[in-house]
């Protein structure tokens, strides 16, 4: 609790803040010249210190400009020493119009002056970035605050904080949103910085293409020149040796050139299958941040923020319903909100829990799906076809055993997130090709034979319950 302080009244530092400021100053002084400290920090005070940010009061806006442009690395070092970790630095002064760059204080500026920010500058954006993915539209909660703070730090001082930044998390939890927010922020702030955002799939495809057309020079130029390289879904590099080799060199060139690299993945680097160890260690070099599913408060905050932004008015109960039933995937949560909102506005009908449940039947089913394991599927299928559980993993080929096994593989593919390799492993170390074949076969049979379709549908719904 000693880390926190607040103002008692508007213009004086309370005792805790004063003490913290003393420590911060002491850590800062040795890093910059005595003259600079006297000029820029002797009239600065610590207004408040929260767990994610600190606010400094300055006499006027030149201080914010000069400190932000020249003393941030030294200040952040002092902050880490004093607070144990980085903090977002905010400034407070009588007039901040125009010099304000802190994203969270954008609202303050709009109140303070008739800011031309209202005349939206048609900022050209980096290709591939969705303009809606910004820091402002990202809802921060305990599930993602570290990833968020790290991303913000990287955006504010590329290549000077965490390099590389490795963000991982499940589907729909904000990896792409954060990465693109970094890209947008840097792009807007520093016109001379080259920003490149791609999915690793694009990287791989362009690499293959470059080899085929003997165009490696151009390819390397594209990927080794940016000042900020953002690669989404880096897990797809797994198993692709040559692409990994190329990426290894790309990574080294950028890293040695003090360029910022940001990567996202659906799992930690060490869990990406068939990824060269030297890449794993490089990905883990900087900071790894996890994006976890949001807790209920955060889910509610997300829903409210989105509803606000789209000027949707729904009863609080609806928000509660959605936040309670959709727990694991923010994208799914937002999609559900949109569906409910459109239904409400189009039909004009009252929304009861039942109507919403019915409206979102498939989404809610998807949610349920998360918890189905391959083993559960194997059990149910074995039970239904009256074969032994062991037959699922055995090498026996008679159709009476092989077919149920194939059905189980098909259902595993449909109902879980497991990869072909993982499914193959779960069925007695089978090849992924075998699993793929099984799925194709079962699909064909479903299309051809009604009774097969019914059987599988029956097993499916019994698993979902």
């Amino acid at each position: 609790m000693w880390r926190f302080c607040n103002t008692v009244n508007n213009f004086s530092m309370d005792k805790k803040c004063a003490q913290l400021w003393q420590r911060l100053s002491a850590a800062l002084k040795p890093q910059i010249s005595a003259d600079s400290f006297k000029r820029w920090f002797s009239t600065v005070e610590l207004l408040e210190a929260k767990d994610k940010s600190i606010t400094l009061t300055v006499p006027n806006n030149i201080y914010q400009l000069w400190i932000e442009s020249n003393y941030m690395p030294a200040l952040q070092n002092a902050i880490v020493v004093t607070f144990g970790g980085p903090r977002l630095v905010k400034f407070s002064a009588p007039s901040l119009a125009g010099v304000q760059t802190s994203v969270e204080d954008a609202a303050l500026v709009k109140e303070a002056s008739p800011a031309p920010q209202v005349e939206a500058r048609p900022a050209a954006t980096v290709p591939g970035l969705n303009p809606r993915n910004t820091f402002e539209s990202f809802v921060v909660g305990p599930n993602n605050e570290i990833a968020h703070a790290a991303s913000l730090a990287v955006a504010q001082a590329p290549a000077r904080t965490y390099n590389p930044l490795f963000v991982y998390g499940g589907v729909g939890l904000g990896k792409t949103h954060l990465m693109q927010a970094i890209g947008q922020f840097v792009w807007a702030k520093r016109k001379n910085m080259k920003v490149l955002y791609v999915s690793s799939e694009l990287f791989i495809n362009e690499f293959i293409d470059a080899i085929q057309h003997s165009n490696l020079v151009k390819f390397r130029k594209r990927y080794r020149q940016p000042d900020l390289l953002l690669i989404d879904d880096i897990q797809f590099l797994g198993g692709k040796e040559r692409s990994q080799e190329e990426f290894f060199h790309t990574f080294n060139t950028l890293f040695d050139g003090h360029k910022q690299i940001v990567l996202s993945s659906d799992r930690p680097a060490s869990e990406i299958s068939n990824l060269e160890h030297r890449l794993v260690s490089r990905f883990e070099w900087g900071l790894t941040a996890e994006l976890q599913p949001p807790d209920i408060e955060t889910r509610l905050a997300i829903l409210r923020k989105k509803a606000n932004a789209m000027q949707i008015k729904l009863h609080e109960d609806v928000f509660q319903f959605l936040a309670t039933r959709i727990r694991t995937n923010v994208r799914r949560l937002e999609g559900a909100l949109m569906r409910v909102a459109s239904f409400a506005s189009l039909s004009g009908r009252e929304l009861t829990n039942e109507t919403v449940e019915h409206l979102l039947k498939d989404i809610l089913q998807e949610e349920g799906r998360q918890s189905i394991t391959i083993e559960q599927i194997q059990r149910r299928v074995a039970e239904h076809f009256d074969v032994r559980l062991a037959d699922m993993t055995s090498k026996r080929r008679p159709a009476s055993i092989a077919f149920p096994r194939q059905v189980a593989m098909y259902l595993a593919r449909e109902l879980t997130k497991a990869s072909l390799n993982e499914i193959g492993d779960a069925f007695g170390g089978r090849d992924h090709g075998t699993v793929l074949h099984a799925c194709k076969l079962v699909k064909k049979r479903i299309a051809e034979q009604d009774n097969i379709r019914q059987t599988i549908s029956y097993i499916d719904s019994s698993l979902q319950r």
């Binding site: 910059i32 010249s33 003259d35 600079s36 000029r39 006027n60 806006n61 030149i62 201080y63 400009l65 000069w66 932000e68 442009s69 020249n70 007039s95 119009a97 125009g98 010099v99 760059t101 002056s113 008739p114 800011a115 031309p116 920010q117 500058r121 900022a123 807007a188 702030k189 520093r190 016109k191 001379n192 050139g257 003090h258």
Partner: protein
């Protein structure tokens, strides 16, 4: 409307107004130049809604009138016309027939009443400056303007009218350039205005070294009347940071340098400044200055200059481009570099009121 005009005169006027036209505009009328012919003159106006320029050229006007035509295209046509006499005839539907020698062009335009008018300057505060002084002042400061669009107040030059002096300031947070122009004006005209980068750039192109420029300020707009040409621009709304805070106090060492020699040495040495560090090191010792740069795995460069220096030996590093920019803009033979220590900014000065504050870079061990 119908008029004839000399090619060179029309071309010159078109050149003056071309740059303001935005290449990526959503409103088609903004890609056009407004042509107004009356008496013995042709006025050409272009605008991008923030900055507008109006040029004038002599013409023989048979029939007065006005229209707007695609600026870029008309410019390209006029430039290629064979003869020095051009006749332009515009019908009621804004189709312009351009004749010169054996060439004939017909260009479709848009009506003049669709063209956004340049703002009026009623109740404006007016001052008159020498063009040369304004041009010098802008040249000495405009390179330091910030390009960071999130700090919009810095995307221009501050004109501070105070106590019979106009102070021009430009900064991007890492360096600050300040120049002064002596000028008499009444106290009622004292104000601080921020002129956006685009207007500054255009102004620098249009200003000459002769004559006066009449500056009118009113309602968030400013106009520069250079007799035959008029430039109008919106002002940036906001409070420019208190730049005086940036200017260091007493210098510990003051070094006199020969500007051109210093600039040339910097230019050569900076060829070996690496892409990653962007820095050159200045090492001062008794009557000597060593300028060095190096790029790991590539090589290094060093030049020594004889300079009158009797202070303690010390080194300071700067971004070479940030150090060369003011040196290029100045014309004086000698400049002074005021220094305090390796972590404090350096200040470049000359005999007349001007200064350039530049933050140093960390010297890597």
């Amino acid at each position: 409307m119908k008029f004839s005009v000399a090619k060179e005169k029309l071309l010159e006027a078109l050149q003056q107004v071309q740059n303001v036209v935005s290449t990526r505009t959503t409103l088609p009328i903004l890609s056009n130049v407004l042509l107004q012919a009356n008496e013995a003159e042709l006025h050409l106006t272009t605008t991008d809604l923030d900055v507008g320029v109006r040029g004038t050229c002599e013409a023989h006007v048979d029939k007065a009138g006005a229209t707007t035509l695609p600026a870029r295209r008309v410019f390209n046509i006029i430039r290629e016309l064979p003869s020095s006499e051009i006749q332009i005839d515009v019908d009621g539907k804004n189709a312009a027939s351009i004749r010169s020698g054996q060439s004939f062009f017909k260009i479709l335009g848009l009506p003049e009443d669709e063209f956004p008018p340049l703002p009026k300057f009623e109740d404006a505060k007016v001052v008159t400056m020498r063009q040369k002084e304004l041009r010098d002042g802008l040249r000495k400061t405009s390179y330091a303007i910030s390009t960071d669009e999130t700090r919009y107040v810095l995307n221009g030059v501050l004109f501070s009218f105070k106590e019979n002096k106009v102070t021009l300031v430009a900064t991007d947070g890492r360096r600050l350039a300040m120049a002064e122009i002596e000028l008499e004006f009444p106290r009622s005209h004292e104000s601080d205005l921020i002129i956006p980068t685009k207007a500054v750039t255009e102004l620098q192109r249009l200003l000459t070294d002769d004559g006066d420029v009449k500056v009118s300020m009113s309602n968030g707009q400013i106009a520069f009347d250079l007799n035959k040409t008029l430039l109008v621009s919106k002002l940036i709304e906001g409070n420019y940071p208190n730049y005086r805070q940036v200017i260091p106090g007493e210098a510990k060492e003051r070094v006199k340098l020969e500007r051109e020699m210093f600039l040339n040495s910097l230019r050569r040495v900076s060829l070996l400044a690496s892409d990653k560090s962007h820095s050159v090191k200045l090492n001062f010792s008794k009557n000597n200055l060593d300028i060095t740069a190096n790029t790991p795995e590539v090589g290094e460069a060093k030049e020594s200059l004889a300079v009158p220096y009797k202070g303690r030996e010390f080194s300071i590093a700067f971004n070479p481009e940030f150090l060369m920019a003011p040196l290029r803009a100045l014309t004086e033979d000698e400049v002074f570099l005021d220094l305090i220590d390796e972590m404090s900014p350096g200040v470049l000065k000359i005999q007349t009121p001007f200064l350039y504050v530049l933050m140093p870079m960390r010297i890597s061990s």
